[in-house]
């Protein structure tokens, strides 16, 4: 479904992606992991067309995405930082995003699930970080798209919201969606992810199931298995 081919990206002197090749098939939850600054967010942003690679190509449903925009209609994105125009209300923001996409949305269900009903008329500038993140999640999940990209989805969520988030992710997976997640919370990965893509030095260092990773690193605990991978970089 997604194919990254020989992707290079530099920011000034800093090489972030260095000839990265990756293929992601349709269906399933993929966790993109790696130490800080390993290029997780850059990789995702390349896919979304926010960062323009120096070299290489990206294919989404067999079509190159570079300099295109219409393909994003079949893709939902949850950005890392939830920061919205402070003077719009929650409802106005939701309507705006709905307005921007030709698809129909099922925001009501999500609004109820996250208990946002009483916040609909509040200005976004007055919301707490966690509530903003809930709005963020509603915006990301209200459209029915084949690909869902989540950048640090657990940021600032309370335990109940976190449970709901996991439920939604599972539900979307059961519908046959492809879900990409970046996070630093390993228990979350252990719980939801089918496959792990581990980035190091701008390349794919490991790609496979959680069990395969545990086996390869001789470690039963995912957190330690990942730490094991990262430690090689520090060594």
């Amino acid at each position: 479904m997604i194919e990254f081919k020989n992707l290079h990206k530099r920011f000034g002197k800093l090489v972030v992606l260095d000839g990265l090749d990756l293929e992601i098939n349709k269906g399933g939850i993929f966790a993109i992991l790696g130490p800080n600054g390993s290029g997780k967010t850059t990789l995702i942003k390349c896919l979304l067309g926010m960062v323009i690679p120096n070299k290489g190509d990206i294919f989404f449903e067999k079509k190159s995405v570079l300099r295109q925009w219409a393909y994003r209609n079949n893709l939902n994105y949850l950005p890392q930082i939830a920061n919205f125009p402070p003077n719009l209300t929650v409802l106005e923001l939701i309507n705006m995003v709905k307005n921007l996409r030709p698809k129909t949305a099922n925001e009501q269900e999500l609004i109820e699930l996250f208990g946002l009903k009483s916040f609909l008329d509040k200005k976004l500038g007055n919301l707490s970080g966690g509530t903003k993140q809930k709005v963020n999640i509603v915006l990301a999940f209200m459209f029915d798209s084949d690909l869902i990209v989540l950048d640090e989805p657990t940021n600032g969520l309370d335990p109940i919201a976190l449970i709901h988030l996991k439920e939604i992710i599972q539900k979307e997976k059961d519908k046959g969606k492809t879900i990409l997640i970046t996070t630093h919370i390993m228990s979350f990965v252990d719980e939801v992810a089918d496959e792990i893509v581990f980035l190091l030095d701008g390349k794919i260092y490991f790609k496979g199931t959680v069990d395969a990773l545990k086996k390869q690193t001789n470690n039963d605990n995912l957190e330690h298995a990942i730490a094991n991978l990262i430690a090689k970089q520090y060594a």
Binding site: I52, A70, Y77, R101, L139, V149
Partner: protein
């Protein structure tokens, strides 16, 4: 693009600063009219304020909006919309809301004072048109600076420097060069130098219309001699349009390669 414009506009129209800006002009209009008791004089005073203040406010609003809405812009960039439409929408949203503050803020006191019965209506309208131009120009310039500068503080600094340069320093350098090179024919030089500064250009445009020779200054006099009043106005208006078009063009060029 229109959808983005609509929401940027709504957002800004509800911001406190838009009201402060609007109220400032409202107050200014009333004070000038009732202290001066003369629409023509009020227009001149207003001109002096507008050609310095609108660029400053446009510059500040432009950079501030860009940096403050950065994360939100990222969310928009992930939607199926063309990049340049997002930024054009924001750009027009800021420029139009600032222009509205200006037109309403100054328009209301002038209309109440009986502008429609006075002959100054054309001068006053021209003043608003120039103010609108300055808004569009300086928001575009500041957006260019913000797009090219990752660091918020630096971006802010550059934008303010740009305003300071065009509003104050440029004239100083210009005057000094006139004094230093006064044994050479300077007509063409000063004409060209005026074209490169939208603030000077606006000043001359208004003064040509007001037809006050004493205030025209050297460049204004050269301008009038060279182009005549009507043609001069046409030319300066044309160059002001260029001052909007070129930065907007550069913005779109920059956007093609920009990483977010």
């Amino acid at each position: 693009m229109l959808k983005i414009l609509k929401y940027s506009f709504y957002d800004l129209m509800r911001s406190r600063w838009s009201y402060v800006y609007f109220l400032f002009y409202l107050l200014l209009g009333f004070v000038l009219l009732f202290l001066n008791n003369d629409v023509d004089k009020a227009v001149i005073t207003l001109m002096n304020i507008i050609i310095v203040l609108t660029p400053l406010i446009g510059t500040i609003f432009g950079v501030m909006y860009y940096y403050n809405s950065k994360e939100f812009t990222e969310l928009l960039l992930a939607q199926p919309i063309n990049r340049s439409k997002i930024f054009m929408g924001q750009y027009l949203g800021i420029s139009i809301s600032l222009t509205l503050s200006l037109v309403l803020g100054l328009g209301i006191p002038f209309v109440l004072y009986g502008l429609f019965k006075s002959a100054a209506i054309f001068n006053f309208s021209l003043l608003l048109v120039v103010g609108a131009f300055l808004n569009f120009i300086f928001v575009a310039l500041s957006y260019n600076i913000a797009l090219s500068t990752e660091n918020k503080i630096k971006g802010f600094g550059y934008a303010i420097l740009m305003w300071l340069f065009l509003a104050v320093i440029y004239d100083g350098i210009f005057l000094i060069s006139l004094v230093v090179f006064n044994s050479y024919p300077l007509d063409k030089f000063s004409l060209a130098a005026t074209m490169f500064n939208p603030i000077d250009l606006s000043r001359i445009l208004i003064l040509l219309k007001l037809d006050i020779s004493a205030l025209l200054g050297y460049t204004g006099a050269v301008f009038r001699k060279f182009f005549g009043t009507n043609f001069g106005m046409l030319i300066s208006m044309g160059v002001l349009v260029l001052w909007v078009v070129l930065p907007v063009f550069r913005m779109n060029l920059k956007l093609r390669k920009k990483d977010f």
